[in-house]
């Protein structure tokens, strides 16, 4: 490589690390915040603030007690200073009128936030045919399209509303896929979650629009603990999308969410995530700690498909999983995980095959740039009774520059001999020959990288609903601006 070329690549790499985070604004709205720290009292306060029934408080207290006995996991290939859990604010709600009759009653500052995020609620209503639930800090602040959905018997609301209005459903399903005791972060979430989305699709109903939740951390020093519970009854279908952003802050913010999906017999759930939490600055100061437990259960002939495009967070610890309990059920995981600067990600999936003839597909694409570290960790477990089951896994890593790292940790356990598991893995760099080829065709280096990366991620991006695929593509371009391998 010539000196000149080396130099220009260094400059480009420099530029990557100075790419600004677009969503780093804060919103100046009054909020109702409780003192920091976690105790039984805090759990009681949260529950009381939300006017929760007794059973919910008990659930939380039980989870809190479990959490006290648990230790923060450290098996992941990530390095971070463990948060001081007594230094986090566990509840912060934007102050607003207790009941919103219409979206026009929203705090104007909050409305501005939504506009900055590119979610104009009115526009969404008119054009995109997407129902949106917005969670700011810890509380769900607006849900659109409620009435249209209600006509079909679909329930789409904040989990707080669901606890009040549909206690029988919440009681029946909450914590059945991710028990409070499942892990350190799920126990923490169960104890202190303040809001999130709830969705129920009745038998045989195909949800007529995309459902979407937008998560936003705003208040300084707050943790965000959302809880999402999605139930697709027999033969129903739903596509659900979540997006996440946060302001730029020097201190790390804690995000520990739990998502539970239940796909009854013949149901079909597609769950897509475009995660763009603040990743911290080029030196690794600030950014969101993202410790998330996502899991779905498939009954007979059901299908759950996870798609995620992850470009944000300082630290990511996340393994959206499928329990393929019913015979002939299908689990899918499509993931693009980008790390840049000092970001660290340990992410992947778990496919637990219990039923006969169950099938799972894993397509994981990692992209590492800057001084970041990207890890894929996945488990494929085929139990004795899961005869004739199949798994196909493909884990690819793309490296940009020579200061980043990428690792793949696949775990495979097969307990019968009629099943078939395939695993493919590749690691590559964007070739200088590819870039030169594009250059020769008039495509500049920046555009060439965007093109090559999009091609690399195509199998995953194709899984996203159309309008979000475009958004995800732009996001990839922004987060990798200027990186040359």
């Amino acid at each position: 490589m010539s000196e000149q070329k080396k130099q220009s690549e260094d400059e480009l790499l420099e530029k990557v690390t100075s790419t600004e985070y677009k969503y780093g604004f804060t919103t100046d709205i009054e909020s109702d915040t409780i003192p920091k720290g976690l105790s039984e009292d805090v759990v009681r306060i949260i529950s009381a603030k939300k006017n929760e029934p007794e059973w919910m408080l008990e659930y939380r207290l039980k989870a809190y007690k479990s959490w006290l006995e648990m230790e923060e996991p450290n098996w992941a290939n990530i390095n971070y200073t463990k948060p001081n859990y007594q230094d986090v604010i566990y509840y912060s709600a934007p102050k607003q009128k207790p009941v919103l009759d219409s979206l026009d009653d929203l705090d104007p500052e909050m409305k501005k936030t939504f506009d900055k995020l590119g979610i104009s609620i009115d526009e969404q209503k008119k054009l995109a045919n997407v129902a949106v639930d917005i969670v700011m800090d810890s509380v769900s602040v607006a849900t659109s399209f409620k009435d249209t959905l209600a006509e079909k018997g679909i329930i789409f609301c904040s989990i707080s509303d669901a606890i009040k209005d549909h206690p029988e459903l919440v009681k029946k399903y909450l914590g059945t896929v991710v028990p409070a005791r499942d892990n350190f972060f799920s126990a923490l979430n169960a104890a202190v979650f303040s809001d999130g989305s709830f969705c129920y699709i009745p038998k045989g109903i195909k949800c007529p629009m995309e459902l979407s939740t937008y998560f936003r951390i705003n208040e300084a020093g707050t943790g965000q603990f959302e809880r999402t519970l999605l139930i697709a009854d027999e033969g129903s279908q739903v596509s659900y999308l979540e997006g996440c952003t946060a302001p730029m802050r020097d201190e790390n913010q804690l995000h520990a969410a739990v998502v539970e999906l239940i796909a009854m017999d013949d149901a079909d759930i597609k769950y897509s995530t475009v995660q763009n939490w603040y990743p911290g600055n080029a030196e690794g100061v600030g950014g969101v700690f993202n410790f998330v437990t996502k899991r779905g259960i498939c009954h007979k002939n059901a299908k759950i498909s996870w798609t995620q495009v992850e470009t944000g967070s300082a630290v990511t610890w996340k393994y959206p999983s499928c329990i393929l309990k019913g015979d002939n059920s299908i689990g899918e995981f499509f993931s693009v995980a980008v790390t840049n600067n000092r970001q660290q990600a340990d992410t992947g999936t778990k496919m637990i095959h219990l039923g006969k003839n169950t099938k799972s597909t894993i397509i994981a694409k990692g992209i590492s740039a800057g001084k970041s570290d990207g890890n894929y960790r996945g488990l494929v477990k085929i139990s004795k009774g899961a005869t004739n089951s199949r798994n196909f896994s493909q884990c690819d890593s793309l490296l940009m520059g020579d200061k980043c790292g990428s690792h793949t940790f696949p775990y495979i356990e097969v307990k019968n001999n009629s099943s078939k598991v395939e695993h493919e893995a590749t690691t590559s760099k964007i070739g200088e020959d590819q870039i030169f080829y594009c250059n020769q065709r008039g495509i500049g280096t920046e555009a060439a990288i965007a093109l090559i990366v999009n091609g690399y991620c195509k199998d995953v991006l194709n899984q996203l609903p159309m309008e979000f695929a475009v958004e995800a593509q732009k996001l990839l371009e922004i987060s990798l601006e200027g990186s040359v391998g």
Binding site: F436, R441, G442, G444, I452
Partner: protein, 253 residues
């Protein structure tokens, strides 16, 4: 159109081109022939702007511009096209998407709006016909799983779409069977005009049976050691490169 004066270039400390002089005018077809390792591909790489090579002396002007001052993409925007000897795969990017990006970027550099997709598709279909390319080709990923012949045809297809002023065909004939060779040559001939020029780099004479050059140059040891008309190619085919190289070796011994 293209003037190369006393071009000296190489890779690291190894000088490959030792003083090339060449002039190509609009409407002309030049063939550069020579044995392996004579510097043919180096010359094409330097014209296209491959930064793996270092220019140590001399200059290249293209329509009055100092070509060596331009980035590879700027050279492309100015109408320089290289048909690669080894076309590169770009997984996940369809031929149509790639060409659309390429044309859009070129137009952007010229301050023009993108061509409407409908018109672009129409143009693609016309050019596909010109090169006897089958349906379904546009949605295949760039060079992924292409045979050697398909890759070369894909290069000429891009050339047809981009309508360059100067096209350099680097060993386009290698890997082509006789039918494909005829189709590619036919395409090149049809694209020929009084405004554009073509430089064909080849080891063998056979492509020149189909595309008749105005000038033939023999490149050996980093220098053009012999130039002539189309008949020179036949003479080389008959007598072999030894005919020229022995004489040359004597001169520098």
């Amino acid at each position: 159109m293209l003037q190369i004066k006393d071009l000296k270039a190489g890779i690291e400390d190894n000088q490959i081109l030792k003083g090339i002089n060449l002039e190509v005018k609009a409407g002309e077809i030049h063939a550069i022939m020579g044995p392996n390792g004579s510097g043919k591909s180096t010359l094409s790489a330097i014209i296209a702007g491959n930064e793996d090579y270092e220019v140590e002396g001399g200059n290249i002007t293209f329509n009055g511009k100092d070509l060596l001052e331009l980035d590879p993409e700027e050279r492309a925007h100015n109408g320089v096209f290289l048909s690669f000897q080894y076309p590169v795969e770009i997984p996940g990017i369809s031929v149509s998407n790639f060409i659309k990006t390429s044309i859009t970027e070129k137009r952007k550099a010229q301050g023009l709006e993108p061509i409407p997709t409908k018109d672009l598709l129409k143009m693609m279909r016309e050019k596909m016909e010109l090169l006897s390319i089958k349906q379904g080709y546009l949605s295949r990923n760039m060079n992924e799983g292409f045979s050697g012949g398909e890759k070369k045809r894909n290069e000429i297809f891009q050339m047809a779409m981009l309508e360059p002023k100067l096209a350099i065909l680097d060993e386009t004939d290698s890997g082509l069977d006789i039918d494909a060779l005829r189709i590619v040559a036919n395409g090149v001939n049809k694209l020929r005009s009084a405004d554009n020029a073509t430089v064909i780099i080849t080891h063998y004479q056979r492509l020149l049976d189909y595309i008749v050059p105005d000038f033939v140059h023999v490149l050996y040891n980093g220098r053009i050691v012999k130039s002539g008309g189309a008949e020179l190619a036949h003479e080389l085919e008959e007598k072999g490169y030894d005919w020229v190289t022995k004489e040359e070796d004597k001169k520098w011994a």
